[in-house]
Symmetry: C2
Subunit: 200 residues, 2 copies
Amino acid sequence: MARTVDPVKHAASRRHIMDSAAVLFAEHGLERTTTAMICEAAGMSPGRLYHYFTGKKSLFIAVLTADRRETGQVLEELRRTEPPLEALLAFVEHLAAPAVAHPLVSQLVLEAMMQAQRDEEVRAILEEVDAEERAGLEELLTRAAEAGEVDAEVEARDGAAWLATLVGAAYLGGLDGGDPSARLAQLRRTVRGYLLLPRV
Amino acid sequence: MARTVDPVKHAASRRHIMDSAAVLFAEHGLERTTTAMICEAAGMSPGRLYHYFTGKKSLFIAVLTADRRETGQVLEELRRTEPPLEALLAFVEHLAAPAVAHPLVSQLVLEAMMQAQRDEEVRAILEEVDAEERAGLEELLTRAAEAGEVDAEVEARDGAAWLATLVGAAYLGGLDGGDPSARLAQLRRTVRGYLLLPRV
DNA sequence: GTCTATACGGAGATAGAC
DNA sequence: GTCTATCTCCGTATAGAC
């Protein structure tokens, strides 16, 4: 029984569409990106696009889940990294890394966050990713705190949530352009300052 | 020559529409808020709405400019506040205050930022406000630095821009709900930590 | 699998009576 | 000034030939 579809080609076609769409979603947002624009960017007809995706929203979600980062592996390694505070900082930088990679990535992530406010399906996906990230932050934060490398005033759960928010700030900063590596340095300094009580 | 329109009533009508629309823009975003939704929320017909605004976008911009904060007055006062570092922190909190006031305010501000990425007119408005805020931050930051209350490593211009980004983080944090006043405390701690070099 | 052509619905905006 | 009714366009998605 010969397969009628080549799964490799099929995946490649999907990927090509997703890559084209991702740029447009980042630049113009979900609603202002028309399927016609996507078709033109991908160099294909609507019929073809809808052969690979059931609709614009499913394409958007496919884009989001494709770029989903695997934090598990990184986390596994950082659990053994010494000192614990450095491991935590490294994790924060890992999470913020996409923001400095390219302005469009920042825009896409922020667009996703906004959509999550308004769409249950998108919200569910991002929630999952966020929970994973926060759990990692909390774990590393707790470890650093136990090692006495973090000020006692910083509570694990709230602190982790706030760190996630600060990572978000790096994405916000990505909108204005400017030097990406400088932004990463600012973030690093900020997180250190937050975790270690500054002398007053 | 009697005026045919009562300017007070006219302004009140505009205001009523803007108030109704602001909530919807915050909740659903610009594109997903239909004029029909606005009409229903405001309890009026499309004809009436278009009597007061030339279009949905002009209404959106009216909402943004109406909620525009007057930083000048606050800044004037903070210039004389001692110590300088406290003045700077107070200014940061002033800028972040709307974010803790109500979740919808956070959403509206973020929506505006996203629209600014895609619309020249919106961008121009926000740019103006942002520039004003950054100028204020830079001024107070410089003053605090000259008083030796801020670590020398923090450069005035970049530092001010980064502080503005951190204020943005407070708005981002507003999306997730949680205790608003706690978020303000986190921000305060973060900014202090950033400005004062923590002992390593 | 891919195209062209088009159906369908909805949203912004207007017309014109009152 | 305000309403009802409606126009027009455009965007999503589909139909059906190749």
